[in-house]
Amino acid sequence: MRFWVWAHKWSSLICTAFLLVLCVTGLPLIFRGEIDHALGYGTGGQAAARPAPLSAIEAAARVARPLGKIHFLVWEPDKPGVITLSIAPPGGKSFFDNENVLIDAATASPPSGGDRASPTQWLVDLHGTLLLGPMGPLVLGVPAVLFIVALVSGAVIYGPFARKAGFAKVRGGRTTRTAWLDLHNMLGAVILAWMLVVGATGLINTWGASIIRFWQMSELSTYAAQGTPPTGRTAPIDTIVDAARARYPDFQPYFVAYPGSLMAGERFHAVYLRGPDGLKEHIFQPVLIDSVTARVIGAPRPPWYISALALSQPLHFGDYGGLTLKVIWALLDLTTIAVLVSGLILTVSKGRKGPHDSLAEVAA
């Protein structure tokens, strides 16, 4: 047991500062769509309006960023009627240097809130990379692992503690420290499963770019030989997307990866489609389209690790089940902050223990 106490104490202490930043920045990100709309970003789009040709959307983005190279064209679910284009600036070294440009899907012009990404994008960058660029996810992987260690060790410690103190009890007539201890242990035990899911999916998300790069090198690259060598001319983007949709008529396009981007090949565009309902709505189906002839060259089933990565996004941000789930997510996020703060208070007050605290020397 002493090992688990040691593991819980130090893993928690090291990752707490990171987790506080992640919990505080993650809270507004649960409602990112609503905040963007309230701030007037990406609100010009009319979801019901007849969409403009995608080639016109592309042209508008090229006017906005004449020197950039389009990497992704995205139909973001929380921005109906607006298309987001992720554009690599000249000299951009990685995906993290890309800029987002918003274009109204109906008018092929910048939406009323402007074509730039909203201030919440800064929060996304802080949450996902700590503003450290490509190194950020690697750095964040360390506290994510430590968080999982803290949760597992906390669960191991919790068993003997609960047998003595009872479940969901806050012992009265003791010291303030005992109240904090009970609060920390019980709140942690109640939301343990949720914290494990969010911690594990956060860890998977930190590996996202590496997972996709592995898939690109191991599987997508095998389709490169089937594409037509670049001739300098590219098929119209509308023809490319139509070819993918013809393959899966019930599916909706989610995003298009352009040649040279992380999720396509040098000779083909990759159109990622979402299923109409259920799990298919979250697990993408790629359709690889020859960039020159707009011929379908493959529709590989995503491997399990890509599906796991796709499912990790909604399971981490809680934005997949409507407003009720978002509110639940926010409350659980606030509870996690309470667990972290109570853990810090217990650590700081360790030298000031009361006479009745011998039952629970450790915070589980």
């Binding site: 919790y158 068993g159 609960a162 047998r163 009872g166 479940f167 969901a168 009890k169 806050v170 012992r171 009265g172 007539g173 003791r174 303030t176 005992t178 109240a179 904090w180 009970d182 609060l183 019980m186 709140l187 035990a189 109640v190 939301i191 343990l192 499963a193 949720w194 899911v197 309902d277 259920g278 799990l279 709505e281 979250h282 499912l311 909604p314 399971l315 997949y320 089940g321 409507g322 009720t324 789930l325 639940i328 409350l331 659980l332 509870t335 309470a338």
Partner: protein
């Protein structure tokens, strides 16, 4: 397993089931998911109320 540990295990299982079921889409699945997630939130509220009482005492 001691009965005192059965309850937190049940809460954890219900939470996990709720998180997974919500992936299946809106409508009935969503409602069921929220129902499965609610015990954890009710317990959080209960514990916070008890802790505030203990801290004030």
């Amino acid at each position: 397993m001691k009965s005192v540990l059965l309850f937190p295990v049940l809460v954890a299982v219900a939470t996990l089931a709720g998180l997974v079921l919500a992936l299946f889409g809106a409508g009935g699945w969503d409602l069921l998911a929220c129902a499965l997630l609610s015990p954890a939130l009710i317990l959080v509220g209960l514990l916070l109320a008890r802790a505030v009482g203990a801290l004030r005492a």
